[in-house]
Assembly symmetry: C2
Homo-oligomer: 222 residues x 2
């Protein structure tokens, strides 16, 4: 049960609170494609991802999807418990993007802890803020997208200069080429990875969807 | 000092905590146009609006502004203290859109209360969630904006059917006309009011910027 240590507030809970959380929570498997949460009427609770990948997205009235962010192992999915978060007035969907194993935490149990423990409440705050930041980043992309096109163009250019799809470049180096900050490039590369355009490893990256990158570089996306 | 009762957690503070907040906080005047907060490096603290109106907005690298939401009397401006919110990774600006009087709360004092009091922490959570919801609404508008154009067109049509700029319509009635929900229409009308397009009062509304509404109805905005 040491995956509970993924959650920063675990050590700040009392023995009774830990026991309550352990008793109420259960591990589950979610095959790729399963929808774990459908909007605010579906108050399913939180998921602590152990393996796999979850996608959090919105669906417009016309059925158009928009991916807000993804959750990877050690991440806690909060918005599937939006019913317990006062002030959240929008609906998201959560689906398994890969075969996923996750611990499910019932909303009422988590809410109880939030009302008792300042550590749980402040951590929840941090999660909401992180999700909010992801959406702000996405909106900036949508309104002012340029770096994505520039990064895609740069990666394609580098590829034409080397052999194969693997590029030996650090994020720092790429940021230098683009006149951007390392953190900004890292974030964008992670986004590219989430979309399946590239595969990241230490000090290098592989282009896994050259066509998508070409489309992006031409600025014809969306 | 009874404006402190605007803040839901006030009654849950100890006498010592109330005294600390009162001692550290001060009332200030901010003439229309004053910028109260410039991005995350400017950790100015929170503002409790007493009179006037604040605008929270982002500025893109190219200088393009985007209004995220507005704050009115009794609202607490939190993102001007984003330095104390772990997980907030974006910059906003806050300016006085009207002559504004507000109580300023220093960030360190508020942070101290957040770490001591589950009531303060959970209220902060609610504020972040509300701001997050405003941004989600805005993004939906940007991506799927239709209702704004439809509402503008409807208001102009009603105006052509009546005399003067004043329309006797409830939000419920407008929602019925547009096949939408009352809450959705109310939110959009408040947005219109914030932009200066209409002026709302009980059971009626006045069109205050017909040109802007016409532009919106043609779908040529943004």
């Amino acid at each position: 049960m040491d995956f509970w240590s993924y959650i920063p507030f675990w050590d700040k809970l009392s023995e009774e609170q830990k026991a309550r959380l352990l008793t109420a929570s259960g591990e589950g498997s979610h095959p790729k494609g399963e929808i774990l949460h459908r909007g605010s009427l579906d108050c399913v609770g939180l998921f602590l991802v152990l393996e796999g990948q979850l996608r959090v997205y919105t669906v417009s009235e016309e059925g158009k999807e928009l991916t807000l962010y993804r959750l990877f192992p050690r991440d806690l999915c909060l918005l599937s418990a939006s019913c317990i978060l006062r002030g959240i007035e929008f609906d998201v969907m959560v689906s398994a993007e890969e075969d996923t194993r996750a611990i499910h935490i019932p909303p009422d149990v988590y809410q109880g802890l939030m009302e008792e423990s300042v550590a749980v409440s402040n951590y929840t705050n941090e999660l909401v803020s992180t999700n909010f930041s992801d959406v702000m980043w996405l909106m900036d992309q949508i309104l002012n997208k340029k770096l994505d096109a520039r990064l895609a163009a740069f990666l394609l250019e580098e590829r034409s200069l080397t052999e194969g799809e693997s590029l030996n470049l650090t994020h720092e180096q790429i940021a230098g080429h683009l006149g951007s900050a390392r953190e900004v490039v890292t974030r964008m590369l992670r986004h590219f990875q989430g979309e399946g355009y590239v595969s990241l490893s230490r000090g290098s990256l592989r282009l896994t969807d050259v066509k998508a990158l070409e489309k992006l570089a031409r600025g014809s996306e969306r």
